[in-house]
Structures are given as C-alpha cells and as structure tokens.
C-alpha cells in the first residue's frame, strides 16, 4: 500500500476539487439558498477529506473535515450561508491551496495548522446551530496532555511485554555484533484515525528506511488486516538514535504518540544493549524525552528531517508535469502510428521487389502516403498538447471577488471564450501576465464607485476577459470600462523620470506614449497599493509574452476604458515559415508576421533622414538590410531589383531586404540553447530537409 505512487493523481484531483469549491463558493455567495451548489460543495469537501486522509495529509484532512461539517449543517437546514462564513470558507480554500502547493514542492503538507480558520469555522457553525461543533477542532490540547503523561510514566510502553523466541534470539546476537541498537517501540494512533492499517504501514515503511523491524505485536498480518486497536508494538534494530526513530514515526500523520526505548531481550544481555547511548549519535538532538508535551509540538517541525533523510535523498519528490489526454485523441494517435508502420512496410516491400519493377510512380505514391500520415500525426500530437484556456482563467473570478473587497470597488468580471485552446507550454506561462493585467484594470483602470456615479457610468465597474482564435493566433483581451490611460499624464511622468525629453514628448504619437508603459519600472499609479503599482509591471508582462512568441498591444480611450490585447501563437513547436537566402546562408521568417512580398526597383528606394524607405501603396515602409544586420558575407550577387519581405509587428511595418526567396515550409522550431548570446535577432533554429541548420529570424526585434 505505497501511497506515493498515487501522489500525482491526488494532486490532479485535488486541483479539480479545489476549483469546484472555488466556483461553488462564488455561487453561494450570490445565492445563499442554492441547494445544488451546497450539495456540490459538500461532495467536493467530502472527497477531498477522504483523499487527503488516505494520502496521510492530516492537516488538510482536518480542515476539509470541518468544512464538510459546516455544509452538513447547512444541508440539513440547521444554518444558513452568511457572508462571513463565505469569507472564512475562502480563507480555508486558500489554506488548502497552500497545502497543495507545499505537497507539490516537497510531497509533504507542511506544518501550517490553520487552527484559526478551523476555529472560526466551528464557532460560526456553533453559533448558528447551537451545537458544539468545535469539539473536533480542539483535540490538540487534550492530545498534548495525554502525551505528556504516558512517556513520563512509561505506562504505555507496551513493547516491554513482547516475548522473544529462541529463533529470534539469534538475530539479536547478530545485531549486537553489528553494533546495532535494539529498541522497543510502541506506537499509539489517534482515536480519529480512519485507515489504521495504512497508518501502520506508513510507520513500518518509515522505520524500514533506517533500520529493520524484527517483530511486531500484533503480527504484521494482523496489522495489515486492521486487527488491532489503537496501538502496536515493535522490536526494532537500527543504527540511528532513539530520537531519530521517534521523529521518523511521528512524521507519519495521525500518530498520537510513539514510545521508543531500549529493548532488553534477556536479562543477561541488557548491559550490552545499553552500551551505546543515543547521545553519541551525531544526529542526536538536544530534546529530552521527558518534554513530552513539547514533543507533540515539535513533531510536525521534525517532519522535515526524516523526509530529507529518507526519500528526498534519492530525488526531489516533486511532481512531474502531466497533461490529461482524452482517450479518443490517444486512439487517433495509435491509429496514425499503425498507419506509419504500414507506410514503412510499403517502402520496405518496394525495396525488396524485383529491381526491374521498381518504378518511381509507386515510390512516389508511398511517399505521398507517408507525408499525409506524418501531417495527421503532427496535427494529432499538437491536439494532445492543447489545453483549454479555462484551466488558467477559472481562478480569476475568485481573484476579482477578493479585489472587490480589498479595494472597496464594486466590479464584475465577464469572461468569454474559456474553451479556446492553447499549447500546454503557453497555458502554463500565461496565467501570471493575465493576472497582472486584470489587477491593473481593477486597481488603476476602474474609477472608485462614487467617481463612476458622478461620471454617469454604471456604478459597478466591468472588466472583460475575452479569448478567441484568429487564424494562427489566439488573442486574449483584457478590457475595462474605467478611466482609460491619460496620455498627458504618462508623458509628464516619463519626462519627470527622464525616460524622454520634453521635446520628444511633443512629437510622440499616442501609440508611442502608450508603449512607454511597457518600459521597465514605469508605473503611473499615484499611490502604490498592495494590489499593483510597484513599478514592476507591464514590462514584465511584455517580456513574458514575447518570450512565448506573442506580443501585446494596448488601446485606450480617455474616460472610456482601456483594452490590452495579447496575441499568442497557437502553438510553439511547429510553424509555417518563409525560407529566404542571404548570401550563402538560409534564414526562416515566420509566415505569421509576413504581410506581403514585393519586388522593388532600386530607383523606388527613397531616403528619409538617411534611412531607406519605400512607398508601398501609399504607406511609407522603412527598409531593413538584413545582410548588414546579420553581417552576411555579400558574395557577388547583383540583382536587378530588391526582393522585399514586408513584415508586420502590431501596427508597425518594415521591409526586409533578402537576396532570394526559397519558399514556404513547415519548420520545427528548436532552441539554440543558452550558450550563445545573439542579441535576440534569432528566435531559434530549425533543421532543413538536407540536415542543414537554418536560423529563424525574430521579426519583433528587427522591426
């Protein structure tokens, strides 16, 4: 019954349940009478409790247990949902999330008891129902008191009653020769312990990592079958000290107490057994066993010690990243792989056929078949990697609710397009930037309620989060109907900070001014709040999004609100690109950023402020000589006209001058690693059909 293998499932399911709880808490806050939600919460809390218990996360279990209790009362009509209850529930939820985060990191729930939340929960329940629901929350003082008695009196040390057979006598001799300590251990479980056998198993497991269990009463078989009361005793050989052993046992949750003492097998041998006092052990801690009351307190802290010694030593028990995949998608993949094998076999058989009959038509047919299979395979694998954006955005309603209270502003979040799918790697990274933008909108964007009323706006501020797919891109909009960005204010601030000169400010377009917001350490918030405005802001958002191969734009209307739009590539790994030639080198330009390809005669190139530009259908486009920027050896290439690839970044356009066009190609993006620093001109590399490496140009840096 090793539970660690279930850790990943546990984490996945816990996440789901926590999300359900969060969603439903939001519902009952609005509609306290909603019975469906209450039932839903009850079920989720119940499953959570059960799972946490099985996994040995005792604190988590206790908290969910109390939540469940409260909802039991609500369900049976003994109490109603109060706003303060919802607040506590949300805090409880945060605490559970904290546990989960800790488990993710260390495979251990940590030591936070969250006593206060539990007590508040229970006191609310008590007040409402008049019953003493709080009894469960206070087992600790009792426990401590009990623990204080037993080791001092040593009355609980049942291990002394263990009888040793003749056969076992032999192992004792051997252990002594090997200088091992022989201990007797009696473990008491908590009365509330549900899975006694599982607990006992965990104790055995913990012990066997640092020593050897020789005998147990009741027998191991009986313990496994749960044929024991709340205690069991062991005879144990180890090289560790008593304290270490005790700590190891107490690291298992729901253990009330562990009594460890030297075990005297037979009277004549006792001297030898006690020859090695625990203090000589380097790991011995200055804790006296008499301080039993303290022992219960320190036990959780010590949890870390055995965890580090035993399993953590091998590898950090962090949880791998997983994607849940629809079984149908996997079936499709499987089918495609079979087809791939068939295609391969087709080629093999063609090869082995009589040589005279090997006609190129059949060969080409096979190649085409292979091509269609690989294309579908690629598509399916990509689909497997796609995750709906819902998994990121569903935490935002909760966040806005909290901000509502914190900022004292009434606001609502409207979300749409949660089902839009994005690559898993993007999903993982996009959460923080979005959160940042939403907070910005809530804090700076929306005016205070009174102000809104005065301006004749709806009192409640509205924030919109829309996601939608647009060609090969996914766009995510964060929009608010607040004050908008004051261009003049930004300008003044920029001048004040010395980012721009007053003269520059005169000539800057609104768009350029807004771009200033994305510069490092530029915050226009007049007061720095807890929520946002520490000056690390939009620049971080921008960097992150650009790191994902996307970009961000901002549109704003003073008094009407602002809208931040994030454009993200649908997938990161494979893109369509235009291959171009510069001298003897080949480069790839992502097709997504290409607008047009033009042949420009030399005489059409004009000079504006010593820069080369072309006039293309009324718009002036600066030219970028790629061969100069990329320091390409020009060779003896004398074209009659310039081949210009018009690329676009946001509203900006530029013409990239290339020597030759090779064609459009689907390329697999690969990273060139961190060793080479190349000023962001290159976003990656790809391997061409002939094995040569071509570099992918980063249009965003070029333009």
């Amino acid at each position: 019954m090793d539970v660690s293998q279930y850790l990943e499932i546990f984490i996945d399911e816990t996440k789901e349940h926590l999300q359900t709880l969060s969603d439903q808490f939001m519902v009952i806050e609005q509609e306290p009478e909603n019975m469906d939600s209450i039932n839903e919460i009850f079920r989720a809390a119940h499953s959570l409790k059960g799972m946490a218990g099985t996994m040995g996360f005792k604190r988590m279990q206790r908290l969910t247990h109390d939540m469940e209790n409260v909802f039991q009362e609500i369900r049976s009509g003994n109490m109603t949902v109060q706003p303060e209850l919802v607040d506590v529930l949300f805090r409880g939820l945060d605490a559970l999330e904290a546990y989960l985060a800790e488990i993710l990191e260390t495979a251990n729930e940590g030591t936070e008891e969250n006593e206060e939340i539990i007590n508040t929960l229970n006191s609310i329940a008590e007040k409402a129902t008049g019953k003493s629901g709080g009894a469960k929350a206070e087992p600790k003082p009792e426990e401590a008191a009990k623990a204080a008695e037993s080791p001092a009196s040593s009355g609980g040390a049942k291990y002394q009653e263990i009888k040793i057979t003749e056969y076992e006598q032999g192992t004792f001799e051997k252990a002594k020769k090997e200088n091992q300590n022989i201990y007797g251990i009696t473990v008491y479980l908590e009365e509330s312990c549900i899975l006694k056998a599982a607990r006992a198993f965990l104790v055995f497991k913990a012990l066997e990592e640092i020593g050897e269990v020789i005998k147990s009463v009741p027998s191991v078989q009986d313990i496994e079958d749960e044929k024991f009361e709340l205690d069991f005793s062991l005879v144990y050989f180890t090289e560790e000290s008593m304290e270490t052993v005790k700590a190891a046992i107490e690291s298992v949750s729901e253990i009330k107490e562990a009594i460890v003492g030297p075990f005297e097998a037979e009277a004549p041998k006792e001297e030898k057994t006690e020859e090695k006092p625990a203090e000589t052990q380097e790991k011995a801690q200055p804790k006296q066993p008499e301080k039993a009351a303290a022992a219960v307190q320190t036990a959780p802290k010590k949890e870390k010690a055995p965890a580090q010694k035993a399993p953590a030593q091998k590898s950090k028990p962090t949880v791998g990243r997983t994607v849940r995949v629809d079984i149908e998608k996997l079936d499709v993949l499987m089918n495609l792989v079979s087809e791939l094998i068939i295609a391969k076999n087709g080629l093999v058989s063609m090869n082995s056929m009589d040589e005279s009959r090997t006609d190129s038509a059949g060969f080409n047919e096979q190649i085409e078949y292979l091509e269609s299979v690989t294309t579908s395979l690629h598509e399916s694998v990509m689909k497997v990697r796609m995750v709906p954006i819902e998994s990121v955005v569903n935490r935002f309603p909760r966040m806005i609710r909290d901000l509502n209270k914190k900022l004292g502003k009434k606001m609502e979040l409207h979300m749409s397009g949660e089902e839009t799918e994005l690559d898993r790697t993007v999903i993982d990274e996009i959460g923080d930037p979005l959160q940042h933008l939403l907070r910005n909108s809530a804090d700076h964007g929306l005016e205070p309620n009174e102000e809104r009323v005065r301006l004749g706006k709806d009192e409640i501020g509205h924030i919109y989060l829309n996601a939608y797919q647009d060609g090969n891109n996914v766009n995510i909009e964060v929009r608010d109907d607040g004050a908008g960005i004051d261009i003049e204010k930004v300008k003044n601030k920029a001048i004040e900070k010395g980012t721009i000169t007053p003269e520059q400010a005169e000539t800057m377009s609104d768009k350029e001014v807004i771009d200033l917001l994305f510069k490092p350490s530029f915050s226009t918030a007049e007061k720095i709040t807890d929520v946002s405005g520490r000056g690390v802001g939009l620049d971080v958002v921008k960097t992150k999004i650009e790191g994902l191969g996307g970009n961000i734009e901002c549109k704003t209307e003073l008094g009407e609100g602002s809208c931040f739009t994030i454009h993200l590539p649908l997938t990161l790994a494979i893109i369509q690109a235009l291959m171009v030639e510069l001298g003897s080198e080949k480069y790839a330009i992502p097709l997504g950023s290409i607008q047009a390809i033009e042949d420009v005669a030399f005489e059409d190139v004009k000079h504006v402020q010593t820069k080369e530009v072309i006039n293309l259908r009324g718009s002036v486009i600066p030219l970028i000589r790629l061969d100069q920027i990329l320091e390409v050896d020009p060779g003896d290439f004398h074209p009659e006209s310039l081949t210009v690839v018009i690329v676009q970044k946001g509203d900006k356009q530029a013409g990239l001058v290339v020597d030759n066009l090779i064609g459009q190609q689907e390329i697999v993006i690969k990273s060139i690693g961190d060793y080479i620093h190349c000023s962001k001109l290159i976003s990656g590399a790809t391997i061409l059909g002939d094995g040569e490496v071509a570099l992918i140009l980063e249009v965003n840096t070029l333009v």
């Binding site: 990329l630 080479i676 290159i682 094995g691 040569e692 490496v693």
Partner: protein, 159 residues
C-alpha cells in the same frame, strides 16, 4: 558548479581518471571523459550572427541543435584550420545542454591517477587562462593540460 568541482577533486584524489587527449596547435589538452558524449567529424556549421566570436555557430547532430565553440579562439590561439583530423567533441555537462568544441585532433584516451596530476599554478598559464585549467597531467614524457570543462563552456560576459 561547486558540486561538480568538488566531485572532480574527490575523483582526482582517488582512483585513476580517464581523459581524452586532444591537440590544439602544438599543445595537448585533456578532457575528463565523463563530460564527453560523442566525438564527431567536422561538419556543416551554421553561423550565428552577432554571437560571441569564439562560437562558430550551430550544427545538427541527429536532430539536435548543438552550439559549436572554437577552443582555439576561446584560448586566443590562431583560428582553426580545418584538416582531416579536425573533430568536434560533443560535451554533455550534467545539468546543461550539450555543446560542441572544435579541436585539431583527438589523440588517445589516457588514465591518469592522482599522483600524476598536479594542481595548476599561476606560472602554467602562458596561453590558457588559469580559470580554464583543472590541473596538469603527466603522461609518459608529455604534459597534458587538463581542462576544467565547466568553466570553459560557461563564461561570464567579460571577454
């Protein structure tokens, strides 16, 4: 990084260690075999614009993009002359991605025990900066400069 150095030191003190001996110009250098993933012939390298001068570019090694560094340029020697003996040694450090280094020739694999390795002193660093060395090995009549490969491939931006 410290860990790696520590491990190296411990190993040096103990049993013999295997080194791949390579030639750069007239000098012999030793590379700890545990970092060596592969040795390949000189192949096509794609230049990376505006990269550090000692990076020749990237190459394709069975579908992986591997950056390739010129040890000669790194050590301020003459630029590489590609001959039939030129090889790229693919280094795979424990926690980093692979990287290739160009050498003039791969000679042999030697086993050096702790006694025949001397710690580098400042005077040994005629051509190669001291930070790149982990010791001097004596093998037969010749001396082998043992490279501290992790510091060769990881460098701060101060050249």
């Amino acid at each position: 990084m410290e860990d790696i150095n520590e491990i190296t030191n411990v190993a040096v003190a103990g049993e013999g260690k295997q080194f791949i001996v390579v030639r750069l110009g007239s000098e012999q250098y030793g590379i700890d075999i545990k970092y060596v993933d592969n040795i390949v012939r000189q192949q096509r390298i794609t230049r990376i614009p505006s990269a550090q001068p000692y990076f020749k570019g990237v190459t394709n090694l069975r579908g992986e993009i591997i950056p390739v560094m010129s040890l000669r340029l790194k050590f301020n020697l003459e630029p590489d002359e590609y001959t039939n003996a030129t090889r790229i040694i693919i280094i795979k450090p424990e926690s980093q991605s692979a990287i290739g280094i160009i050498v003039d020739e791969v000679k042999e694999v030697v086993i050096l025990d702790g006694d025949s390795i001397e710690k580098p002193t400042a005077s040994d660093s005629n051509d190669v900066q001291i930070q790149y060395l982990s010791g001097i090995g004596k093998h037969g009549d010749g001396l082998i400069t043992l490279l501290n490969i992790t510091s060769v491939i990881n460098e701060k931006e101060n050249v």
